[in-house]
């Protein structure tokens, strides 16, 4: 600690702190030092000169953002010299700044406007002409008004330091400098929207929000973002109801949480709100009467739903009903969903709609692996990433890893596609989905392949697989690096989770982790996977954590077995399921399909019987459990969700009430939450479960072709799929094309642009015709065809496919 003085007040700070850091840390005790270019999360530019302060015995004023404090230093932030410097810098900043505050979207929340109140002069001595700069089109998210730019370069630094993509830079020199993308193009970074928050003036503003409201007309409510497992903290900005418009969510901005999102937000979390009032939004409950849809009131809709469901149960038993809930639902919704269905005797309950391999589920821990790791990601020095397009799945976790690599951390990946993460990778195994399992086994072999004892206690097929491997140099390198590192981290992503040999990947990675003292972490691609596990929206476990002797069907089996009735919550299975083909058939043939959803779609109107409109996460109340295992509660941001929509937990409670189930008398979500907390805190202990058998190794021939079907960033859930500005950004690789490497193209005798048909690997699968795009990033024996796209129903995001030319 260093002792020094600011404005006569005695202050202490860590050695190496800058004056501005020390002053900010001292908080209210010290007057605020004005600044523009400084941002605590970015490198120091020291260029705006707004933060000049006087330092005793200093020859000239020094920038507080770039000057480190020394013992005994006496700093004056409000002395004549300091104020003179600050005021003069302010007048320089204002001479070329347009006086268009009345029509500027930043008005009311503009750092330049705020500071000019304190430091600006009321009249100007500047009578020369002002410069103006041509605006740039940088895409559907960010509006530019470059004449307003004050050259603080926060946006430029953000792109290269945090987003890892140098999309913005400065062109020209001196007064003619301008921020630009060099060649005009839409910004591709999935974090680009942060530059709107960073820009201290109105040069970069939100395009979707443009001219929609003034800052002072908005009310901010704290919320939790709902599109990945980080649980970023957000503020939801709402405009009051007026004569011309009902209450509306106008925008979402980031809310600082150092442990999770810091001050950032991904574009998906920031702009998904633009999908809220899409034409597909369900405004009122709907029922299908003799094949015709009609809107109705809640009472009627619930009555119809009750009757239909009770009919099915009366005739076929509760065994004929299956319940699927989205892992983006709140903990409370998951809990009530399973409680309601279990109270009816329904055994088939699941949220794992993107999983393919459920073996070993009974031995999985009560909560999907979580650890308090987000902040420590930056200190981690070795990562092994298995099956993840992490930049699209978890944009902000990726930026933490990026920061680690900037400090020298090594990242190794095992993936079916050489995805671009905008960070430096040390080693990559780009192999087919089955190759992923083999690579991991090869790494295991390097680590303990000769240890008979260790192999003998492993499940047979896995030990066998490890023995078979002939590790290559990359696998050797990865193994050695993991072994030498103090605390490596193994990350399993959404593609691992969707993998048909997920159980293998999981056992192998856990075995490796134990061997080398690593941690493993599952990066789930939904907001509340951990919460759904805790609330046991699962077929094999009761809310008290005890395994069910004869578990119900899992998400895949439920669809494969074609049940009589399905209850869907927050899902569009033809987009969201790993088995869209199975889903369509199963739902279509069912007698009764009850859907609680915020949105409708074409297929849904065909298969559903009752549609109950629910709130999206931005309008909802409840809680999410994130990757760290932290349960974050949020209150309703709006007075009421869109039109007649209701919070999901209320709909589920009333459904239970209508069906005469006792014990569903919650008046508020708080009551429900506290009951749930009691349940969750009951020190859940997994009972000892004997080892289960693993499925045998697959037979892989030279002609086997695998599919990699990741969910593109903006196809991941029903809200983002309707956020139009985000849809505009869908880049070519996410389009419905069949991408494959040159070797496979030669083998199949196809060329760029040829049309081929692709289908799942079973006899009566319907083929889809697609154009070929040769792409060297795709592993051998693999084709890449994203999931979640309209009209492409192929089962199994990582399974074997058949291609006919």
């Amino acid at each position: 600690m260093i002792k020094f003085e600011i404005d006569g007040k005695k202050i202490q700070a860590k050695s190496g702190s800058t004056i501005i850091e020390a002053a900010d840390a001292a908080g209210v005790d010290v007057s605020h030092i004005p600044r523009f270019c400084y941002h605590s999360k970015l490198s120091i530019a020291a260029s705006c000169r707004m933060c000049l302060v006087e330092v005793e015995n200093g020859r000239k004023p020094l920038p507080a953002c770039a000057t480190t404090v020394t013992a005994g230093m006496k700093i004056y932030t409000k002395s004549h010299q300091a104020m003179q410097a600050q005021k003069e810098v302010m007048s320089f900043l204002l001479i070329n700044h347009p006086l268009d505050c009345p029509i500027c979207d930043q008005g009311g929340e503009c750092e330049l406007q705020d500071l000019s109140m304190g430091y600006g002069r009321t009249s100007t001595s500047f009578i020369e002409g002002k410069r103006s700069i041509k605006d740039k089109d940088i895409g559907p998210l960010i509006a530019t008004e470059m004449t307003r730019c004050i050259h603080c370069t926060r946006c430029v630094r953000f792109c290269s330091e945090i987003a890892g993509l140098r999309e913005l830079g400065i062109l020209g020199r001196g007064e003619h400098s301008e921020i630009s993308t060099y060649v005009e193009h839409s910004m591709q970074s999935e974090l680009a929207g942060n530059i709107i928050d960073l820009c201290p003036v109105g040069a970069l503003t939100s395009k979707p929000f443009r001219f929609k409201a003034r800052a002072w007309e908005l009310r901010a409510r704290a919320g939790i973002a709902g599109h990945d497992c980080l649980g970023s903290n957000i503020n939801i900005h709402i405009k009051r109801e007026s004569d011309s418009q009902p209450e509306r969510i106008m925008r979402v901005v980031s809310r600082t949480n150092e442990k999770l999102n810091e001050t950032w937000l991904s574009d998906r979390d920031r702009f998904s709100y633009t999908g809220l009032y899409h034409a597909d939004r369900l405004a009122r409950p709907m029922i299908k009467q003799i094949g015709k849809w009609q809107e109705t009131d809640w009472e009627t809709a619930l009555t119809v739903a009750t009757q239909k469901l009770q009919n099915v149960i009366a005739q076929n038993g509760a065994q004929a009903v299956g319940g699927l809930i989205s892992p983006n639902s709140t903990v409370e919704e998951c809990y009530l969903f399973q409680a309601w269905l279990r109270s009816l005797g329904v055994p088939h309950i699941d949220h794992r709609i993107r999983q393919s391999d459920f073996d070993h589920q009974i031995q999985s821990p009560l909560v999907w692996s979580t650890c308090k790791c987000v902040q420590s990601l930056e200190e981690t020095t070795s990562f092994l990433l298995i099956g993840s397009f992490i930049r699209e799945e978890q944009p902000l976790i990726t930026s933490r890893i990026r920061k680690a690599t900037q400090g020298g951390a090594r990242v190794h990946v095992i993936n079916p596609v050489d995805f671009d993460f905008h960070l430096t990778l040390t080693n990559r195994c780009i192999v087919s989905p089955w190759g992923m399992v083999c690579s991991l086994a090869a790494i295991a072999q390097v680590l303990f392949g000769n240890d008979k004892k260790k192999l003998n206690i492993m499940p047979k097929p896995i030990a066998e697989l490890i023995r078979q491997q002939k590790p290559n140099t990359v696998e050797h390198d990865i193994a050695r690096d993991l072994q030498q590192d103090k605390a490596p981290l193994i990350l399993l992503g959404a593609l691992a989770q969707a993998h048909p040999y997920f159980s293998y990947l999981r056992v192998l990675s856990e075995t490796i982790a134990i061997e080398i003292g690593a941690k493993t972490l599952h990066l789930t691609d939904s907001a509340n996977e951990a919460g759904a596990w805790l609330a046991t929206a699962l077929p094999h476990r009761r809310i008290d954590g005890v395994s069910i002797k004869e578990p119900g069907y899992n998400a895949k089996a439920m669809l494969a077995k074609t049940l009589k009735s399905y209850c869907l919550f927050g899902l569009e299975p033809t987009y969201d399921s790993a088995y869209p083909e199975l889903a369509r058939t199963a739902l279509q043939q069912a007698e009764c399909v009850i859907v609680c959803s915020a949105f409708k779609n074409k297929a849904m109107l065909e298969y559903a019987d009752v549609l109950l409109p629910i709130a999206t996460h931005l309008e909802n109340e409840g809680s999410f459990v994130n990757i760290e295992g932290t349960r974050q509660s949020f209150q309703r941001s709006v007075n009421k969700p869109f039109a007649e929509a209701r919070c999901g937990w209320k709909v589920l409670r009333v459904l239970a009430n209508f069906m005469g189930r006792p014990g569903f008398d919650y008046q508020t979500v708080l009551e429900l939450s506290s009951e749930l907390s009691r349940n969750l805190e009951n020190d859940l202990q997994s009972e000892h479960i004997p080892p289960v058998d693993f499925k045998p190794l697959p037979t892989v021939s030279d002609n086997t072709v695998w599919r990699c079907g990741y969910w593109p960033i903006y196809r991941n859930d029903s809200l983002v799929r309707r956020a139009e500005p985000l849809q505009v950004l869908t880049v070519e690789q996410d389009l419905a094309k069949l991408r494959l490497g040159a070797a496979l193209a030669t083998h199949l005798k196809v060329n760029n642009g040829d049309r081929v048909s692709v289908s799942s690997d079973h006899p009566d699968a319907k083929p889809v015709t697609l154009q070929v795009l040769i792409d060297q990033r795709i592993a051998d024996a693999t084709v890449c065809l994203p999931s979640g796209l309209p009209d492409i129903a192929i089962n199994g995001p990582l399974s074997v496919v058949r291609i006919t030319t």
């Binding site: 530019a45 707004m50 003069e88 001479i95 009578i127 001196g174 400098s177």
Partner: protein, 427 residues
Amino acid sequence: MQHNIVCFRTRHLDQPWSLENYRSVGGYKQLERILNDKIPPEHILERIKQSALRGRGGAGFPTGLKWSFLSRGKPIQKYLICNSDEGEPGTCKDHDILMLNPHQLIEGMIIAAYVLGTTVGYHYLRGEFWHAFQRCEQAIKEAYQEGYLGKNILGSGVDFDLYNTLGAGAYICGEETALIESIEGKRGWPRFKPPFPANYGLYGLPTTINNTETLASVPVILQHGAKWFAHLGGKENGGSKIFSISGHVNQPGNYEIPLGTPFSELLNIAGGVWKNARIKAVIPGGSSMPVLPGEVMKRTRLDYDSLSKAGSMLGTGAIIVMDEHTCMVNALACITEFYYEESCGQCTPCREGSGWVTRLIKRIEAGQGKPGDLDCLEQIAKGIEGRTICAFGEAIAWPVRSFLKHFRAEFEYHIEHGCCQVAARVR
């Protein structure tokens, strides 16, 4: 007075740049002696300190002291950079060193590298120096062939690789940290200091950067001894210096003469003021330095301390002479326009202030001046000075303030009468 005895010592020869000619005046002898006799680097450093050699790039920082900042012993890569960006208007001395005596610079750099313990050097030339670049390429090639550069120089175990790099035409890339950024392939934007290049330079590693003339002086200092060099000039003002004299003189050009020579003597050497006109003003150190009235200059000696006492600076040694027919408003407008065009745009006072002063002065020149403009001008200059990242801010502020200080009446005349006083008098 002795002319052309340091950097220009080959100038009298035919093809002065050839290796052969350089050798004929004792070239590479010092390097050979140092390596053969294994003279400890500290000894050479001591000589340089005793010679009172000061930086010829503008700031006049004592070279020996600068070299001692680089921690020689640190077991990491260190770099030596030679600054041949020579962008300051009026300055053209480095160009002539490169054209006339490139080997002396190379020898100076190798010796500097030996003293500093650096194994890699960069020679940064401004983008327009295409001929000089080619000459240096040729010279470096010859030096490699003779075993003066590369690994295990002359069997001594000492390594030094030297590369020429061309800039892309920005004045600011002469500023040492902007130059470093430019070598790294980035925009030439000066860095905030501290840290200084000695700790955090090229690629973040310790770096020493010197001007061409500074480095090219080293072999001669070692040949004739530190005392000899120091005695050429006055106290703390060792050696001789190349003065690039330009403007209204009969024989503009580069003259290498001892520091401390009276200005009037140099003026004589350069043939005096042209057309028998009277001298009005002189900028003694490149266009960014404060202007002085001709009368003051006539009484002043050309060295660091004398000029600073007179209210200006030696700078790069580029002397711009203006005769009585010069319009000082126009002269200042030309100077500020240059800096307006060359500001890198990074920091606010310089980016915005350079445009403001330029527009304001041009408006006055055009006869549109208003009362209060001069105070405003003074105010803007003060607002830039000492508030910027690099010394470019002073390069705008000093001319403005010194022109107003010494020639305010001429500016007032422009404002009051809407026309030029000098032109009116001529009429």
